[in-house]
Symmetry: C2
Subunit: 598 residues, 2 copies
């Protein structure tokens, strides 16, 4: 039986037939790899996700972590699964050999991670946060911080968190108040409260390594005064032994709609519950330089946001496969015409409206997976492409694509989960089936790592204007190159290319128009609509790329790809017309609505 | 403080300034009522919903009903609230004086019910199902059935259910298998399993009255062989005393994503657990004539489906008010231009994108409420308008509007709940706030009482072609009359009217085109898209009606109405363009997708 998590056939198509990731092995960093090692780690990921992560996904939801006032209790399957994950070396999948990693390309490592996200996002979040934390310390921490914290994280002994938000500072990190006071020995003591900290407390690992944004005395106001600190739950001796309990205290768990398997916490730093070394405050150490904290966080942001998009994709993808399986096996009703009430019922996949819902899901989730892997490959190119021009190109393209790679799957793979429920009918609304949890889990993705609104501001306010608009130009050129290939191949591909070219023309014209007034308020009042419209055009391009990668054969898998592409061009791309029309009017309806009119 | 459930100001605007419901009191049925009695029952509903239903809404969700194998346990607040509801006479709000009702117009009774649905759908479902059951028996039951079952239901002593679906027969009622065997005394014994029965078992009332679709021996196959039976949980003696336990046994509770306060059950009839009168089978009595069961159910369908739409509206409305309140009080961030990190944070309603999300919600929920009340008034007109031509007009318009009144709020007020979460950011994703429950609760509405797909088939396959297309013609004429008034009033209203007229032209042309081929399969493969497009045009009409009802004054409430209308015409109505374009191509993409291409 085919997996209900992801389609390995689709992954192979995207990684090899389309992106040709084996070509990466000509680069020194990946020279020890080949198609076989890539296949092996994908096989391993599918196997561990299927055997150790998927089985407790529902229990992780129904018996969510709870706090007895002293300790957090988590069902034992979580720790067991994470031990298998770490033992298999997946924690360091993309990291350097030198720190215990496998030095896989990010694109392959991300394809592996998607298996775990599809199987169980609640359990997967612990290692994923740990990897993000470790990557940040590898990029900006000292050698001593790498030894003390990163190596145990790669080994799966310590887990990591990211502590940015506070109760009064969510989207507005400028308002972070946690303060860090320098001590005579060069260490710091931190005081403050952090909110929404995933994995902020648990008993799954020997230690928890918090990366904390805080403000040193006299630092400038706003985001320019933020520094980054590493603050462990237990102090770590020079020999790596665990020492005193640090003053990082769990104030409470948030109880979420979904993603329940991951503890989400309110943490107090320096509240005085513990007094490490007999003095008040949570002991922390500066990462890199002062006042560079947010810059370090943002350095990892493209990767983190692509990761959120990939997680949203994985949830949408598994929901699609669940509803496809249901549609193939659930008998209900008969063909609309010539129906004979004595004839046996047909599987619901025979009904056109069910196929419409399946095709919509397919166009969302396979499109999102392709985009996520494309961006993952850009991360590899940014770091390892042999020529600097290629690296620059990859960086600029990645900058402009990241808000879309984060927001598009978060919106449309959630829409896929909604359709998966709808195909299940009443069953889909019950907790006895998996699709309702997938829908609840996925609802987080448009919120965390920058809301949809923040992604819109990032795209229209920063990314399409940065480097004099180089990123957007590059994107449009890249899309045009695909359209040219499609035009040359003729037939239906050429027709799709013509639609795509019209749509990219609108992207260029509308972007110019929005910025033509010199009035950022008007431009940015339209940022979310702009994000959605450009996102759909990008996905149309991704679908044309997939269409071309199928070749001309009649393999049903390739026919399915072409049919999904066709569906995207017929049903989805035209949605952007009214959006561009609206943007071109420089609409200020919302901006001009007085608060007392609501 | 304004209510966070509904806006009484808006209800008054819709009921009086727009629909002029007090004019109904010139009809004999409503002659005892006046504006004062309407106001009093609305006040009463708001007060009871606020004091007795809203406070346990969250507890009803977190401590959902559970079955110990013998009994269903429900938190005590539910029974207490329902006692207040019944004692206040609301159970029979729209029923005849003769059976203990208040003989209110349906439009007023529905406005009352919306308060309860906004406060707590889980608890509200018990009386609403009871009312639906009672109305069906009033319309089709015998005088003896009315005395035996309806009067105790109006008094709140018995509750009712509707038992249609079975595990193998959800959307396809043709496949109902429950059988009813006639006995020598004219009663029947029922054997079978019913699925998805809301309120199917509990200890909230003295008795539960099930209305059950079943098949008598030798009945025709399909829906034409279904008869309707009344089957009480406890047999009722001629003197109204409760007798033996009938053989209707709870086989299990379904555990749902939302709507958790309402038990949803699998019921076994005639399984042999009880043997009333010493014989096997659940004792039931035929309602009306044999083989007319589905017709009786469908007789009440317009009202039931309008009720589902109203429930979806109420959930969307309260979510909107919650997010509006949050947006006014939550400080976060600063204006985008000229931002000074030392300036205090502003309430998020100051951000254009938040106002965009509020305005979208407002246009969905106030539009849906207006549509729901308009259709409720049509139910009154169908029954009580003095001239037969008026009654026929109301019936025809109601037939064509019902699938939209059911599906549009279910889709777009759920979208409103999604935006309400988004405005709350991370807080909205937690169970500490109300908006996440509203989103989960509302996700049921596109499924029950006929899925979205079923509504599309109903609209395109039945309603727009019935009576030679009279309903659709009438709808288009009614819309044209509104547009004419708006054109005559000039200015912006005339501009909106021009857009509306173009859109209705497309409805007419596309409907003709879809049926032009004589190929129902192609037409109906597009039914869901058709439903959505026509729904948006109908709502644009409803918004123009509201725009006109505001008059010319500068009252902020009226400004808000006009702004929401404007927003609907700028952002929403244009979405229908690509939908009509797609429909006009007689798209068969989904219909032609082979199952093995997925």
């Amino acid at each position: 039986m085919n997996s209900l998590l992801l389609s390995r056939r689709d992954l192979d198509f995207l990684l090899h037939d389309w992106l040709d990731v084996t070509a990466l092995t000509t680069r020194p960093r990946f020279a020890e790899h080949d198609r076989e090692t890539f296949d092996a780690v994908l096989d391993l990921s599918e196997a561990i996700a299927t055997r150790h992560f998927a089985p407790h996904n529902k229990r992780n939801d129904t018996e969510e972590p709870w706090f007895d006032g002293e300790k957090v209790h988590i069902i034992p399957e979580v720790k067991a699964a994470l031990e298998v994950f770490a033992e298999s070396g997946l924690m360091g999948a993309a990291m350097d050999h030198e720190v215990g990693g496998q030095q896989l390309p990010t694109v392959v490592a991300n394809a592996c991670m998607a298996w775990f996200q599809a199987a169980n996002v609640g359990t997967s979040a612990y290692p994923f946060l740990t990897v993000a934390n470790a990557n940040l310390l590898l990029a900006h921490g000292s050698a001593e911080q790498v030894d003390r914290y990163v190596r145990p994280m790669v080994a799966g002994r310590y887990f990591g968190t990211m502590c940015l938000s506070e109760p009064q500072a969510g989207s507005s990190l400028a308002d972070v108040r946690t303060r860090a006071e320098e001590q005579a020995d060069g260490s710091f003591r931190l005081f403050g409260t952090k909110m929404w900290i995933s994995g902020g407390d648990h008993e799954l690992s020997e230690n928890i390594v918090h990366l904390v944004l805080a403000r040193t005395p006299g630092a400038p106001a706003g985001v320019k005064g933020l520094s980054l600190f590493v603050v462990p739950k237990y102090l770590v001796g020079d020999d790596g032994s665990l020492g005193e309990r640090n003053d990082v205290v769990l104030a409470g768990l948030n109880h979420k709609m979904g993603y329940r398997g991951t503890t989400n916490t309110l943490l107090n730093f320096g509240e005085g519950v513990h007094r490490p070394g007999g003095a008040p405050g949570a002991v922390g150490h500066l990462v890199g330089e002062r006042h560079r904290g947010l810059a370090y966080m943002f350095h990892m942001m493209n990767e983190a946001r692509t990761g959120v998009g990939l997680g949203a994709t994985a949830l949408g993808y598994t929901g699609y496969l669940h509803s496809l399986d249901y549609a193939r096996t659930r008998p209900q009703g008969r063909p609309l015409t010539g129906r004979d009430p004595e004839a046996p019922q047909v599987p619901i996949i025979e009904h056109a409206d069910v196929r419409r819902m399946l095709l919509a899901q397919k166009s969302y989730v396979e499109g999102a997976l392709a985009l996520s892997l494309y961006c993952s490959l850009l991360i590899d190119d940014e770091r390892t492409a042999p020529e600097e021009a290629e690296r620059t190109r990859a960086r600029q393209l990645l900058e402009v694509l990241t808000p879309i790679a984060k927001s598009w799957p978060s919106q449309w793979c959630l829409a896929a989960n909604d359709l998966a429920i709808q195909i299940h009918g009443g069953y889909g609304y019950t907790r006895e089936y998996n699709v309702e949890q997938q829908y609840r889990d996925n609802r987080l993705n448009p919120i965390h790592e920058g809301t949809h609104g923040i992604q819109g501001l990032d795209l229209l306010g920063r990314k399409v204007v940065m480097d004099g608009g180089a990123g957007l130009r590059l994107l449009l050129e890249t899309i045009a190159a695909t359209a040219d290939r499609a035009t040359a191949s003729g037939g239906e591909a050429a027709e799709l290319a013509a639609s795509l070219t019209r749509a990219t023309g609108r992207v260029a014209a509308t972007t110019a128009r929005l910025w033509s007034t010199g009035d950022p308020d008007t431009a940015l009042a339209n940022a979310s609509v702009y994000l959605e419209a450009v996102g759909h055009v990008v996905l149309a391009w991704i679908w044309l790329e997939q269409y071309l990668a199928t070749g001309e054969d009649a393999d049903p898998f390739h026919e399915g790809k072409r049919q999904a592409a066709r569906s995207f061009y017929r049903v989805e791309l035209p949605r952007t017309g009214p959006q561009f029309d609206l943007l071109d009017t420089l609409d200020r309806t919302a901006a001009q609505t007085a608060p007392d009119w609501f």
